[in-house]
Amino acid sequence: MTIPLGHYLMLSGLLFAIGLGGALTRKNAIIVLIGIEIMFNAGILNLIAFWHYNHFAVLTAQMFAIFAISIAAAESAIGLALVIAVYRYYKSVDVDEMKSLKG
């Protein structure tokens, strides 16, 4: 009574697509970041699923997951700091308005 690996892969694919959709369609920069976080998590879920099914004895995948989570944390911190900085300038977090290269 085990769940096939394919289920997890499909789930993570679906989550990835949802995150992508959010990142692509929403105007709010914070929601774009949220979409990116969702994609990150979908990827890590994939990693852990593969670990559980194919490489249970070694912990390399868990290491990767730990590092990926840390990087995601750093990334979100920087991303949000940027959003705040941009907000200070444009008084908006609308990604459609952040389109000029000159500040």
Binding site: L20, A23, L24, T25, V32, V95, D96, M98, K99, S100, L101
Partner: protein
Amino acid sequence: MDELVRQQWLIPFFPLVAAAIQSLLKRSQRKLSASLTIGAMSLSCIVALRSFFGTLGGEHHWPFFRNFTWFQFGTTHTQLQLGFILDPLTAAMAAMVTFVGLMIFINATGYMAEDENFTRFFCFMSLFAAAMLGLVVANNLLFFFICWELVGLCSYLLIGFWYFKPSAAAAMKKAFITTRIGDIGFFLGILMLYWQTGTLNLYDHGHGALEQANRLGALTGWWGLSMAGTIAFLLFVGAMGKSAQFPLHVWLPDAMEGPTPVSALIHAATMVAAGVFMVGRMFPLFVACEHDWVMDFVMWIGCFTALFAATIAVAQWDIKRVLAYSTCSQLGFMMMALGAGGLAPGQFHLLTHAFFKALLFLGSGCVIIGTHHEQDMRKMGGLRKYMPITFACYLAGTLALAGVPPFAGFFSKDAVLLATYHRCRLAWGMATFAAFLTAFYMTRQIALVFFGKWRGGEASQRHGQEHHGHGQHGGEPHEVPWNMWLPIAVLSVFALALGWWEHGHHHYLTPDDEMHEEGKVLVMGLSIAVGALGILLGWLIYGRKTMEHADSADPLQATANWLFTPLNRKWYIDEIYEATIIRLTMWLGTAFRFIDKAVVDGILHGVVWLARAISQFFRWVGDELIINGGFDTACESVRESGGLMSKLQSGRVQNYFRVLGLGAAILLVIYFLRLGR
């Protein structure tokens, strides 16, 4: 010997650490910064000299090298290795770079004494030296390329050190972009080499890229060349950019916008030497394709550059610009020697040239400081009396460059000419003429700068006090402090003596190469003769009767204006580039904009029109009320998509992201389809 190889990494390491520490220093910590740079360079110099003297004695089976794995990736353990090498080429080059670099650094403490960004300058200089030394000791093309690009970056930073001057900012960009053009070739060459040999190590116990050169020579490549020839050609393109060979030489004279020690470092020891050194390093590849036209190409490019730049140098006013074109010309000599199959003469000339050209540049730096930041030779003159030490050293450098017998330049230039003589008489003739011009323009420079009477005063009187004299000194030229003249004095000793060394170590650089002795007397005699002739002619025109005023015409200009003006304008090369390449680029830009407007928009409008037409058709056929609305919206969205397409480059991050996503989707489909097969 093994131990010497093992310590090779120290050579670039010290300046690198110095640069890293200096990047953290405050502006005010000038002494610390300078002593760090000089100390690190001294340590490197000791290590380099140790390996140099270690390689001198005894017969060894060169090269010695040591590779190690940097990292590996993938399941097949694709390894990326780095390595260090020790052979005579590297040892001599490292010793030269560290020693000359050290001299330049010491001189720079004087030259830059009043600059407020002193620490930044020395940080860049250290990094520059580290990159160059890394390139010298690299046994791996990747490492080589990294250092190569770092050298380019540092030269960019240093040429534009005074970035607030528009000319410096322009020059830095020009240098960077021009060398980058060459680097494309270099990079392609590296890629092809990796493709063909599967390794980037130069030597690796029979598996290295250079050790497979003969195999590559047998393969067929592109453009009617063997594979080795193709790669060698691409690599040479890189060397052309870096070593300022025609037609990529344009950046070098402009690079004079940097501080003079930078010019010395770039033109003597490091950047331009990198290209020649690279050709020398990859020489097995060039030898493997000896029957292709690549070697001839190298030789002719070198020969042409030598002559071409020498002619321009005849008619320049700026003291550094003359030296810059002279460097260009000398690099041409080196390339020519390499192209003629003479690795040893080419590299030997590189070494001697490094010493006396560094000497000349530092000497010109002393002159510039001594005359309160004056660079125009017309406003100098008579400095012999004011700056005797500088004059003596400068004279030594000039004689070395002109190829007067006991000086270093004579021996190396003679070797170059001899090598060319055996390959091609025409090239030899052109090169000899270039040697004549060299003697001529150097004599002109000496005469203008050091003889006659001081013309700077009247100019500064005329222009008011726009040249800020530094400190309490007035308009009179003065001798420079000891930390500036000491290095050039040391270097002038080498300019005098280095040639003799070659006699004892004839086979140092290429142990198995037999020097051709025939024709030596002819070549040597002619070389001495043209040198003497050049000096004589130069003295006759410029020395006998010196210029009276700063704005009076050049004697050569007075007699032969039709010749002088094109030379002074550098054969209009920049103008030609302006008219051709830059114009072409702009034309292309216009054309693409037209294509964008007419074709892309046309297609999109066509699509809209088609959709409209279809909707018209359906309006006849189907239910007007329902379908109508639907198709109107469809048309609207198609129109919108047209608008989207024409606004592709909108600066909207999500649009880019979308394209990225679509691209990923397409790649995924391709990947899985291939996987399925």
